[in-house]
Symmetry: C2
Subunit: 414 residues, 2 copies
């Protein structure tokens, strides 16, 4: 019998083995006592079982309200639960309801966070995973041996299609590999999707014709279902290679429906992710999260970056990059999208800690606000990454490369 | 200019006005400084503005990690932000990214929870809202003047289609109005969706032919997009009136795509909801949550119940019921689904506090484990509700009604 396994951080005043058993019961039988129809055989074939329990530290007060299982101390433990895969079959939303459903409501727990998943191997028969991932993103942009260098159009809202196209022209001429819409920009009256695609792709296609370099632009197709497909069609017709979705806002079913088409590289924006992850004892960890989206077929996924402008610590960013690139049931790795407060300066620490160039490395101000202009900004990022790969320090790289030196002077103070 | 408004609880060591301005900036311009293309006119037309700030209490330590804006005290405040509606248009996922996106990542905040939304009136031109809601659920079941009485098939997984049909037969004969699948039961190998519908609907249709009473059964159609539509078709063909989705697992786009069809009453299961709401200073409150799903067109939504078996306090349950039934941009109210540890005993407090019978009132053990059998269980719930509506106390009702008296004896101890 094949199993799905899920690992949680739990917090409970009960003996941790007992609390783990409650979680397994709630998410399989629901109730295996005193209901007609319950038999020992049913229980044997369908009940979730506790695979392992690793006690961690105790805390004095409960992290979350509503625990009614006693006073402290509250024990932390890492627990792994295994479900017979035939309980749900290859049904992505029901898988999520199984590992991340009513368990968050349990009064026996004062904390519960889904940390990771181990998928049945047979899922590879049903789920293709990313149609493009790292390799497809490289093929579409022609970038090898270094991270893709990308940027985002700002301000987030308000630009006309022509404004956006003018910015993309500047960026394409600067040598950028990738440009994305903001998650707040989808199909608003001031920049209708089709008009934005037309205006921007005139620039992108013209640039590709003249130089042979095709910039990947991820227009934000997030919308209702039929509209997303119309946007997708428009992007395919335009000659572009990719599109973007706000994953949490679209949801698993809408996202997989789009990813199943497989023509475009799908850039997964995780805005709203802090809601799931910022509380240390509630929600979901990134290792589990990226597996759900990889099953749905997303190709690129945001991970923040080293010394980012948001709240996430570097260790968490590094772990996220590693989890995107780790094997999963034979499926292609996700391309980690490094962003938030990035410029060339973080290339050194990013490479030292991850030892990979399979990244989409996004910088905003680091490109557009470079003292010698956007082309120098892109060059400064390429220089930083090549230096990091070659084992140079930031200081050595700044001594060798004028554009990178200028970026250190401008952005390196903070 | 029309606006969308969102109200948040925030926690911050900064002056609360400053923190509110950061939130508004992040979720509109993204950056209105030092980027070419930013003009005063753009800012005027597209920037979100802070509508109001109500300071609340201070706390000594931060609720969430990653705040880098100073030491305590950490100020709580309720803030309302207004966005020009033309920033996103009637685009549901982008609306969610606007009010619930990257703001959860801000280092200026040590807590942020989306509490409520106020929608532009023009949304009614684009969003139908629930096609059925309270009125449609009543018409489909023929129940007036009291809550619909419902139950759930248990154990959650493992039963064959024939086992499930046999339970539904017992329940139909007991006089139940509504039966639902568990969220863990969708289309597994041991109970394929179509076979379960066939077996159960033979019972339901036969019962309707004989008695004139049509039980509403919400088969769990949660699945990938095309499979959900196949399941929906199957349910329509079977003569049934409703279907169920696990909303958080399916997502907004997949759910609206199904609700747009409008033939079936859609029962919205909120499993996973604790992930969004259990932390008092992170995520989303129910008032905002139910509006998103009402926009998507869901007809019935879970709210827990008074003295539920989960963590949620009664005040929160009462507020959730009220928000489902409150007006929203001219759209039909959602039918609140009261469940979790319910039997007739909670009818009195539920009615006293909500003064409504527009509920789907779900009991499991309270029906199936009644000492005189399921028919007595259903009668005990009807008796309890009629007594509550008539202003009787629990004790008076128990003195008048034998079935309810037995249920008090069995379930009233806890």
């Amino acid at each position: 019998m094949e199993h799905l396994k899920a690992t949680y951080l739990i917090e409970t005043p009960l003996p941790v083995d007992d609390a783990a058993a409650v979680l397994a019961g709630e998410q399989s039988s629901g109730t295996f006592v005193s209901v007609p129809g319950e038999t020992a055989e049913l229980k044997q074939r369908y009940a979730a079982r506790v695979e392992s329990v690793t006690p961690l530290e105790d805390v004095d007060s409960p992290s979350l309200p509503g625990c009614r299982a006693g006073d402290g101390p509250y024990h932390h433990a890492q627990v792994t639960i295994a479900w017979p895969a035939h309980n749900f079959g290859p049904n992505l939303p029901t898988l999520l309801s199984t590992v991340g459903g009513n368990l968050y409501e349990l009064t026996q727990l004062s904390g519960v966070k889904l940390l990771d998943l181990e998928l049945p191997e047979s899922f590879a028969d049903h789920f293709r995973g990313p149609a493009h991932g790292v390799g497809g993103s490289r093929r579409a942009t022609g970038v090898e041996g270094r991270p893709l260098i990308g940027t985002i159009i700002k301000p987030s809202v308000g630009l006309t299609p022509e404004d956006t196209a003018a910015m993309v022209k500047t960026l394409a001429e600067a040598g950028i590999d990738f440009v994305k819409d903001d998650e707040l920009m989808a199909n608003p009256p001031h920049s209708p999707f089709d008009k934005r695609v037309d205006a921007v792709m005139r620039v992108v296609n013209d640039h590709a014709d003249r130089t042979g370099k095709r910039v990947m632009v991820t227009f934000n197709i997030s919308d209702e279902r039929d509209a997303m497909h119309r946007h997708y069609d428009k992007v395919v017709e335009s000659g572009n290679t990719a599109a973007m979705m706000s994953l949490n806002s679209v949801g698993l079913v809408g996202a997989k429906d789009i990813c199943d088409r497989g023509e475009l590289v799908i850039h997964g924006h995780r805005n709203g992710w802090g809601m799931f992850n910022r509380c240390p004892t509630l929600g979901m960890g990134f290792a589990a999260y990226q597996k759900l989206w990889r099953l749905a077929g997303v190709d690129q996924l945001h991970v923040n970056g080293i010394a980012n402008k948001f709240w996430e610590p570097d260790d968490s960013v590094v772990a996220s990059i590693e989890s995107c690139l780790a094997p999963m049931a034979g499926m292609t790795p996700l391309l980690p999208v490094v962003s938030s407060g990035q410029w060339g300066g973080q290339a050194f620490e990013t490479y030292r800690r991850t030892q990979t160039v399979d990244l989409l490395y996004m910088a905003g101000g680091g490109i557009m606000a470079h003292p010698s202009g956007p082309a120098a900004g892109v060059r400064s990022l390429q220089q930083a990454w090549q230096a990091a790969i070659d084992g140079l320090t930031l200081e050595q790289a700044a001594a060798q490369h004028e554009e990178f030196r200028q970026s250190v002077e401008k952005f390196g103070r903070k």
